[in-house]
């Protein structure tokens, strides 16, 4: 059934990293006891009025400018009416007909572009916690600033949708617009998907999938939904425009409501909030403060520091990781060696790359370790052992290696003696080598390294072994 192609568009909600909520001064800190970060405004008390937190606009503008969107000089907030117990005013303040920004695009792997429809600001609702016999409402989250990013239906494959989300998350983190944390709900995604005959320009009947709270779920839900639609169409059936819910346990999407049951949100401009004017000076101010974006940074690391595309991509997915890398290079670490060390040894010890700034081995210390290696004073095996000890004790590489006697053996005669001993102790292997079984050399190198407690230079060992074995030839 390859006659169909999928058309996918995503609506992503990102929690903006402001200290205060979007329309009042309450804190946005995650994880506080329920209803401790509330006031008359965000609980919708009679008579309370919203006042826009301009910091939230700053952050949304950052993202809009980074994506090349067109910022509207005048945008408006609207009321979106629906009933839900955790929506204290009975409406959500959002932007409808006049969003903050329109157009723009996000580049994903391989130079593909996902065009954006719009980026707008809105407030979050509270959280309903369902108990056995009662439900409780926590309004700490009510009024937390969100930025909604709506993509054009440019995606064709579920894995591209997941990739788009990864890139978008990297972008909001690089811009310090959001922590992009899906588990805490600061990045949320709804997906729209429809099928059409391959090569057609028409759009098929779409469904909207909600409750996608990880990259993996986005991909799996889309895969499932595409298969479901395809099977239905192949059987000659029709699809209904509807909202479906992803059931992660069952691995299926389930119908939530049809278009006919869809809500009439009765949008109208919020009379409590005057139009939002963003002038050229405001845009210029935000643009001037934009940090280097992941894509530009990746290109620079390749061009200026000679990293591989792979290493550069891996390092720039999280701003903190790239910062760590560049600090290591600035402290004297060789770029290629630093990149590989960080993406392998360091990341093996840091579960969340964004926490790398708090690692017990600082970039300066790591640079010190790599310098010893470059100078031939240690080898890779010693480097790993020293690194492990540095991680425990927070000392410099020099100090650890000195104390533990982990410098490479500089006296070639000591290594030579060890080589002779090993060859003398393994006459069978020596004979096999001389008979042409060259691969026994690796074992013999290992033996020498063991007897020198890893302190021999492996290249020197190799060379001396070869000579020793051929001498007696």
């Amino acid at each position: 059934m390859s006659g169909y192609e999928a058309v996918i568009g995503l609506e992503v909600h990102v929690q903006l990293a402001t200290a205060a909520k979007i329309f009042c001064g309450c804190s946005t800190r995650f994880g506080a006891p329920p209803n401790t970060q509330v006031c008359p405004v965000c609980t919708g008390q009679p008579g309370a009025l919203p006042v826009l937190n301009r910091r939230a606009v700053d952050l949304a503008l950052r993202l809009a400018l980074a994506c090349g969107c067109t910022v509207r000089g005048r945008s408006r907030f609207a009321r979106k009416s629906y009933f839900y117990p955790d929506l204290p005013k009975g409406y959500q303040i959002t932007q409808h007909e006049q969003p903050l920004a329109e157009g723009g695009a996000v580049e994903i792997g391989g130079g593909a572009r996902v065009n954006l429809t719009r980026i707008h600001l809105e407030e979050d609702a509270g959280k309903t916690i369902h108990g056995r016999s009662t439900s409780s409402v926590d309004l700490n989250r009510a009024g937390v600033p969100l930025c909604e990013i709506v993509s054009e239906p440019d995606l064709r494959r579920p894995e591209d949708a997941a990739e788009y989300l990864r890139v978008l998350r990297g972008l909001v983190r690089a811009l310090a617009v959001s922590d992009g944390n899906m588990e805490q709900g600061s990045l949320r995604c709804d997906a729209n998907v429809s099928l059409r005959p391959a090569g057609s320009d028409a759009l098929g009947v779409k469904t909207e999938i909600k409750n996608l709270n990880s990259f993996r779920f986005v991909q799996r839900a889309l895969e499932h939904e595409i298969a479901r639609q395809r099977a239905r169409l192949a059987a000659g059936g029709a699809l209904a425009q509807e909202t479906r819910l992803w059931d992660a346990d069952a691995g299926v999407t389930r119908s939530m409501r049809s278009k006919e049951q869809g809500r009439d949100y009765r949008y109208f401009p919020d009379p409590d909030l005057p139009p939002l004017w963003v002038d050229g000076a405001w845009i210029a101010r935000v643009r001037a403060a934009l940090p280097e974006l992941p894509r530009a940074r990746r290109a620079r690391l390749v061009a200026e520091l000679g990293l591989s595309e792979h290493d550069a991509d891996r390092l720039t997915r999280e701003r903190e990781l790239a910062d760590y890398f560049e600090a290591t290079v600035a402290a004297g670490g060789a770029p290629g060696r630093a990149a590989r060390w960080i993406t392998t040894e360091l990341l093996a010890r840091v579960p969340d790359p964004r926490a790398v700034g708090g690692a017990p081995v600082t970039p300066e210390r790591l640079a010190g370790l790599l310098a010893l290696w470059d100078a031939g004073r240690i080898n890779s095996g010693l480097a790993k052992r020293i690194f492990a000890l540095m991680w425990e004790g927070g000392e410099s590489a020099e100090a650890v290696a000195g104390r533990e006697g982990l410098f490479q053996q500089q006296d070639a005669s000591v290594v030579e003696a060890a080589v002779r001993r090993v060859v003398a102790g393994s006459p069978e292997l020596a004979a096999q080598y001389r008979a042409g079984r060259r691969n026994v050399l690796g074992y013999l190198v290992g033996q020498v390294m063991r007897t020198t407690r890893g302190r021999a230079d492996p290249r020197l060992v190799n060379e001396l072994l070869r000579r020793e074995l051929s001498d007696q030839d």
Partner: protein, 485 residues
């Protein structure tokens, strides 16, 4: 009966104690309010304590603020910390707000003593005070008649001397119309002149807080305290009036060089005022001309569309503002709403529905712009506009309550001013043959409160209509002739 300005001066001069002044008002409330029902809640204890505190501060030689010791009262849609606030609705009965609205905060800071919360039509929706969920308020001039609305309790309380001044809200005439029907002075400021933070919203783009008092000067004294920008209301105008400028505007006693426009549409055959009202307003215009003003006819061509426009916009916004009273948070559910409120929620919900929004809400917004332009053009040719406040005087309880359209016409002269966001003043200008007060409305350009106060104060300096008091007993005042000093 003394005015706000006189009492404030007397207390500061230690001629009388603040506590005595407040106790007098509380006593009067006890004797008259069981009939009038101007108050929903009287805070006797809190008021007495606040008055004593004023006296103590004066004893210590401290400043007490411009309204130190003056007993005032608040329409019950103004949020008061720790004092039950219901907006006249069962839905909010028992709600004790955790905060003070901005105007309440400013009043307290000025030293005013808050006697209690005043009756109103439920959520300020009505023109008679009959749709109060608790009890209809009555007109002190004739308790068989309504005080007007929705700030009916405020107008009745000022007229009967149950407070010296009051704050009401005006969405389509809710300060000016009851002021006219009760023979007191009421001012609806320019939209954005006074903070709406802590005003229980009816229609957010139209609501505005304003003072009611016996004189234009008292209204100015109250407005001095409550006007000015507020960081908690982003629809507030950024500029504050020059301190003292509003009171200073009340010093005029002639009107040379002032151009007063009279819109011909307000006197059309259909929807024109009743003859007694037309007569009193005509005499007032003659008086104003005698004071030196130039009185001329002007035109506001879109006047005929104002009622329809208003009831689309006001109900649309109301349907959204009242969505929070869904039964989840405030004790009583939606069944607690009265008929008029339900009617407006349904009208507004319809006007915003998909497929109808542009034809109703959208078109109303466009007509609103035309009405605003009418006024802008008119104010090129005149400084103030004069009209009757209401086409008829106080009507009998029950006379219009079953006919919403008849009730809506009570605001026919007042609601254009809200649509255009302009200031409007109503002041007593005579009586009907039955002895019921008639109000003259003055409308000004945006932020033109001062010119309204100038004209109004000059008129009150030349007349004594505002000094007439309702008779103490039951029944209407009779045969109040004259008017000129």
């Amino acid at each position: 009966m003394p005015t706000v300005v006189e009492v404030a001066r007397g207390i500061r001069a230690r001629e009388q104690s603040a506590e005595r002044v407040t106790r007098d008002r509380l006593e009067r409330i006890r004797s008259l309010d069981p009939t009038l029902r101007a108050y929903l809640h009287v805070d006797g204890e809190g008021a007495t304590a606040a008055a004593r505190e004023i006296d103590r501060r004066l004893d210590r030689g401290e400043e007490v603020g411009p309204l130190g010791g003056v007993p005032v009262a608040l329409k019950d849609n103004l949020v008061t910390r720790g004092l039950e606030t219901t907006a006249g609705s069962r839905v909010l009965r028992g709600w004790i707000p955790p905060y003070d609205g901005t105007v309440v905060e400013r009043l307290r800071a000025s030293g005013a003593v808050i006697l209690g919360k005043l009756n109103l039509d439920e959520f300020a929706m009505g023109s008679s005070c009959e749709s109060s969920a608790f009890a209809p308020c009555r007109n002190p001039w004739d308790p068989e008649r309504v005080p007007g609305g929705s700030s009916g309790g405020a107008a009745a309380a000022v007229a009967a001397g149950l407070c010296l001044g009051a704050l009401g809200t005006d969405t389509g005439g809710s300060i000016r119309q009851p002021a006219a029907l009760c023979g007191v002075t009421g001012l609806k400021p320019t939209y954005g002149r006074v903070s709406r933070y802590g005003v229980i919203a009816f229609a957010s783009s139209l609501d505005q807080v304003g003072p009611l008092g016996r004189t234009v000067e008292d209204c100015a004294a109250l407005l001095e305290v409550i006007a000015g920008p507020d960081a908690r209301d982003s629809t507030c105008v950024a500029e504050a009036p020059e301190p003292g400028s509003l009171l200073a505007a009340c010093g005029r006693n002639e009107l040379r060089g002032v151009r007063v426009g009279v819109p011909r549409e307000y006197f059309a055959d259909e929807g024109g005022p009743e003859p007694d009202v037309a007569g009193a307003v005509g005499a007032a215009l003659a008086q104003i001309a005698e004071l030196g003003a130039e009185v001329k006819e002007i035109s506001l061509p879109h006047t005929g569309h104002a009622v329809a426009t208003y009831y689309l916009i006001a109900t649309a916004e109301a349907s959204s503002n009242l969505a929070r009273y869904d039964g989840v948070r405030y004790g009583r559910g939606r069944r607690g709403f009265g008929d008029e409120v339900k009617r407006r929620i349904m009208l507004g919900t319809f006007a915003l529905s998909a497929g109808y929004r542009d034809a109703y809400y959208g078109r109303a917004q466009r007509v609103r712009t035309l009405i605003r332009r009418d006024f802008e053009r008119a104010f090129d040719a005149c400084d103030v506009i004069a009209t009757p406040t209401s086409p008829f005087p106080a009507f009998r309880l029950g006379e219009r309550i079953d006919d919403p359209l008849q009730m809506y016409l009570a605001d026919i002269y007042t609601l254009s001013c809200n649509l255009a966001g302009l200031p409007g003043l109503s002041l007593p200008c005579g009586f009907t043959g039955e002895g019921l007060p008639v109000g003259l409305q003055l409308l000004g350009p945006a932020l033109g409160e001062a010119v309204l106060l100038e004209v109004g104060a000059a008129y009150q300096a030349a007349t004594d209509w505002h000094e007439r008091r309702p008779p103490p007993g039951r029944g209407a005042a009779r045969g109040v002739a004259g008017g000129r000093r």
